[in-house]
């Protein structure tokens, strides 16, 4: 297999698929019968992942909190209809994804749909334009901030695949199941997202 090297220390590798399937199975069976403690265990295991998935995609902490809460509530309500418990994680991500898209629809209807983060990103992007003010580029902050801004400007589909593959450590196969798309299109999207980032970063560095 390929590489898994050189991840920064701040990154804790996701433990998707690492837990004992029997334990999850037991919790799911009990939660299906309405046991809130078992559902609480399931919540604790997945909340960080779902919250950050939403946060990276919507960019607003408040919206990410709402999405997380709705996702788990819907999961609780519909748990009894989940037949293939082995794919619980994918099922949960699919619910979260639906909620994220619903939230995006609502956000577009708001009079001022840009939150502070997005406004900041636009500022950084503008300042990175070589035609605007080259001096500002040197002062505009960290490379990481620039990268964040580029990430936020990616099309939603690219952001999704990149978050799932790079930040959440899911396999392409799992991402394909969550997004309902072919393996090859997932592979292509991850690459295109990286290509955009790489090109914009080179452009930024060369200024």
């Amino acid at each position: 297999m390929g590489t898994t090297e050189n991840l920064p220390n701040s990154f804790s590798p996701p433990d998707i698929g690492m837990e004992l399937p029997e334990a999850l199975d037991t919790y799911l069976n009990k939660a299906k019968l309405g046991d809130p403690e078992s559902f609480s265990e399931i919540y604790d295991r997945y909340v960080v992942r779902i919250f950050n998935f939403a946060l990276h995609l919507v960019g607003s902490r408040e919206d990410a909190e709402d999405i997380t809460q709705e996702t788990f509530l819907l999961a609780y309500r519909n748990l009894k209809d989940l037949r293939d418990q082995a794919h619980f994680e994918q099922w949960l991500y699919k619910i979260a994804r639906n909620e994220i898209y619903k939230n995006r629809g609502k956000a577009k209807l708001r009079p001022d749909s840009l939150d502070d983060t997005e406004k900041g990103i636009i500022h950084i992007l503008k300042s990175a334009d070589p035609a605007s003010n080259p001096e500002n580029n040197l002062l505009s902050g960290e490379l990481g901030e620039k990268l964040k801004a580029i990430f936020r400007s990616l099309p939603m589909q690219y952001k999704e695949t990149l978050v799932l593959a790079t930040l959440q450590g899911l396999s392409y196969q799992e991402i394909s199941g969550i997004m309902g798309r072919s393996l090859s299109s997932v592979k292509t999207d991850v690459y295109r997202a990286r290509l955009i980032i790489t090109e914009k970063m080179r452009k930024y560095s060369s200024v």
Partner: protein, 175 residues
């Protein structure tokens, strides 16, 4: 191979994520060792990936999400929460019958069984009634045959012709 070539770029990206099989990964490694252009492109992607992971670290969700979530779960209708004696006396598969699809299937089966039973019962009653009528008619006919037809008329009151005047009379009278 050039890093900008789409198909090869996809392979390098998949290699970065550890998504290539052993054979393809070995080929990629060998190529990266000899092609400086691809190697530069690959190193750039890797560096940006690591930078992105560092720039977007996981954040802790606030505790109030869980509190509010479980308040909402507590307020959910009982249909989702078996409790008391039901929770420990009923096997799981019976409880699972509460799901709508199962309930619909069971209701359909019961309805079909009721319709078939009613149809069968109706047939049974009709058959019994028919047998009783036949039996009654035969009794009347035999009695009539034995006694002869004193009025010499048919059921509509028309006079019987000699040839239709009880052809079995001789037999019934023992001749």
């Amino acid at each position: 191979m050039s890093g900008r070539n789409c198909i090869e770029g996809i392979l390098l990206s998949a290699y970065l994520d550890g998504e290539l099989g052993d054979e393809d990964a070995a080929r990629a490694e060998m190529h990266l060792a000899t092609c400086s252009k691809c190697s530069t492109f690959y190193e750039g992607m890797k560096s940006d990936r690591n930078l992105l992971v560092g720039a977007l670290p996981d954040e802790a969700p606030p505790a109030n999400i869980k509190v509010q979530l479980f308040q909402r779960i507590d307020a959910e209708p009982e249909a989702n929460q078996p409790s008391g004696i039901l929770a420990w006396t009923w096997p799981g598969w019976i409880l699972s019958l509460r799901s709508r699809s199962w309930a619909l299937a069971c209701a359909s089966i019961v309805l079909l069984a009721v319709i078939l039973s009613a149809f069968h019962l109706q047939n049974h009653i009709e058959y019994g009634r028919m047998l009783a009528e036949i039996d009654h008619s035969r009794t009347e006919w035999v009695a009539l045959g034995k006694a002869g037809n004193p009025f010499n008329i048919d059921i509509n009151g028309a006079p019987l012709r000699p040839s239709t005047k009880n052809p079995f009379a001789a037999y019934l009278n023992g001749h």
